[in-house]
Subunit: 341 residues, 2 copies
């Protein structure tokens, strides 16, 4: 089962009786090579089944042409949209992608970072796990001047570049909308408040309450880990409240969908008894009943913006040093789950 020997520029050169330098230049379409020679070389390369050895090239060029991506989970509509956006931009620019996921574990995130660092990615795009306590594992990238862009779950310390939405405003809008529907006891189901996305949405939630003269009640705040089991538990907590809340702002559509199912199983009417607003605008929103109001968080845009900024930086166009925060447009989508009137 011996592999056929690979064709190299030496084979092409000696077949045409020219130097490897000319072959190398021709294959990169260097204008310095004459059209006649180029044609001969292209044709023969095609015929011989030549393929570039990227290792030799990268070894020589001292760059990997690879972007690393670290996400917390793959099983998420939002994340796959972001990946699609990243993929689109990086593929066009001729970069490869190595995708790693941490399963929300800090130690796995550290391992992923170390691995991608050793693989020498030219740049990194990352969203933090729920458990992540610090950014020490990204220091090595900084030391070697490898650019890192964070998106969604980010940390503002130091001079990172981050791509986010205005989570504060989104939390405010969602809550304000529920208040306008006449809701007064609005539960907030969210996740680890150490993560910017959740703390900011929480901040917006509180601000909207305050602006409407509704006192903040910490009993209405429920934290969970975004799993199905946790979503059910959170809902049960909500059901035990007395008096029952009249709305819930939930920072994740999947959790919101589980919550709605559990509420319905317990004979709660949505939105009449409890109005619901989710977050992300996953495909699931229009499949559950009633359709789920949510914040539209366009993952594809996030991915595209993160990737194109990174690549422009790598190409020397633009510079991330002076770019601190990029805010992507987002908006509230009102559906039946929150329409009381």
């Amino acid at each position: 089962m011996s592999k056929k020997k690979e064709v190299t520029i030496y084979d092409i050169a000696s077949a045409l009786n020219i130097s490897i330098a000319t072959v190398s230049r021709a294959l990169k379409n260097d204008p310095v090579v004459s059209k006649r020679t180029k044609k001969k070389i292209f044709d023969l390369a095609e015929k011989m089944g030549y393929r570039t050895n990227h290792f030799a090239r990268n070894l020589r060029n001292q760059k990997t042409n690879t972007i690393g991506v670290i996400v917390h989970e793959l099983n998420s509509n939002f994340i796959t949209s972001v990946l699609a956006g990243i993929e689109k931009v990086t593929a066009e620019a001729g970069y490869d992608l190595i995708i790693a996921h941490s399963s929300e574990s800090f130690s796995k995130e550290i391992a992923n970072a170390k691995n991608l660092f050793h693989k020498r990615v030219d740049g990194l795009i990352a969203s933090l796990s729920l458990e992540t306590k610090n950014l020490d594992h990204f220091k090595s990238f900084e030391e070697k001047n490898v650019p890192v862009i964070f998106f969604d779950r980010v940390e503002q310390e130091g001079n990172n570049t981050v791509v986010v939405i205005d989570n504060d405003k989104c939390g405010y809008q969602a809550t304000q909308h529920l208040i306008q529907q006449g809701c007064k006891r609005i539960v907030h189901i969210t996740s680890n408040l150490k993560r910017n996305v959740y703390s900011k949405r929480f901040k917006g939630y509180k601000e909207a309450l305050a602006d409407n003269g509704i006192p903040y009640d910490e009993k209405l705040l429920i934290i969970n880990d975004l799993s199905e089991r946790a979503a059910i538990e959170s809902t049960m907590k909500m059901l035990k409240m007395n008096p029952l809340p009249d709305a819930a702002f939930i920072t994740n559509d999947f959790v919101a969908a589980i919550c709605m199912r559990t509420l319905k199983e317990n004979n709660i009417k949505i939105p009449e008894d409890i109005a619901i607003v989710g977050f992300n605008n996953d495909a699931i929103c229009t499949l559950v009943e009633p359709a789920l109001s949510t914040i539209n968080y366009p993952g594809i845009d996030v991915g595209e913006v993160a990737a194109s900024n990174l690549i422009n930086h790598l190409k020397g166009i633009g510079n991330l040093q002076n770019t601190n925060t990029i805010i992507i447009r987002s908006n509230l989508i009102i559906r039946k789950s929150s329409l009381k009137k």
Copy 2:
């Protein structure tokens, strides 16, 4: 913004006044190097921040340590499960992954195959797009003896190795179950019958009908492209049938969910008026109302099996030459959407 120079085995060697050969051997933990020397080398490598240059190594070793994956779409629960399974196995074995998706387009699948071929992946795992007409674009892999494993959407021509479920049986079981519920006019909503998965499920559907003395009616067969729009159109077609069908076996949970929503919008009761069985067992199944009966198609197992067979082949353990088909266990899950009694 000059990058700090990378540390190489030469730097370590000269710092310790030994040869690069010893350093190279030590870093690979070659037993031929003495413990004393090894320790010195490890410690210094750590201290100097040495990282292996994979390009130099791979160039010399003539292998890439990379597995290519081609899928039709990322936005699918099933596919992300498969990827998770593949990732688990390949990461443990120390292989990298390059993931490409064709967006169901034949030309993009060809481009992806060509790209991965030029990147010289050591092996390939692929599921075909809906549009794919032939496997010519995988011939180059065969020629260079690069192993290819197909999963889910496969083509049995030639001597490929494929990882699938018993789609025939699944189609039979789903249909049989609906018949047992008393259904007689069972619509089958599926996709391109040129793809094995759909043709086999269709075959099972027809066999179950035949075994129960129900004549096959081709008017009850609806083909679509799995998009939301197509799912709605398919449902409208179903609604226009006279008499109305009493069940639908739909080969995709997402399409089934859209279909259920559309039916409900048109005041059809599920399962009383029309019973539904989907396919895949996506998370969505228990979030729609009523909960969706489906075929459990464990993507993670598919991914793990495909990847471990590929890697064993690469390592010389086991051989794919004589492995034609691997069938993964699957089963019918009965929920409310199909329970008439």
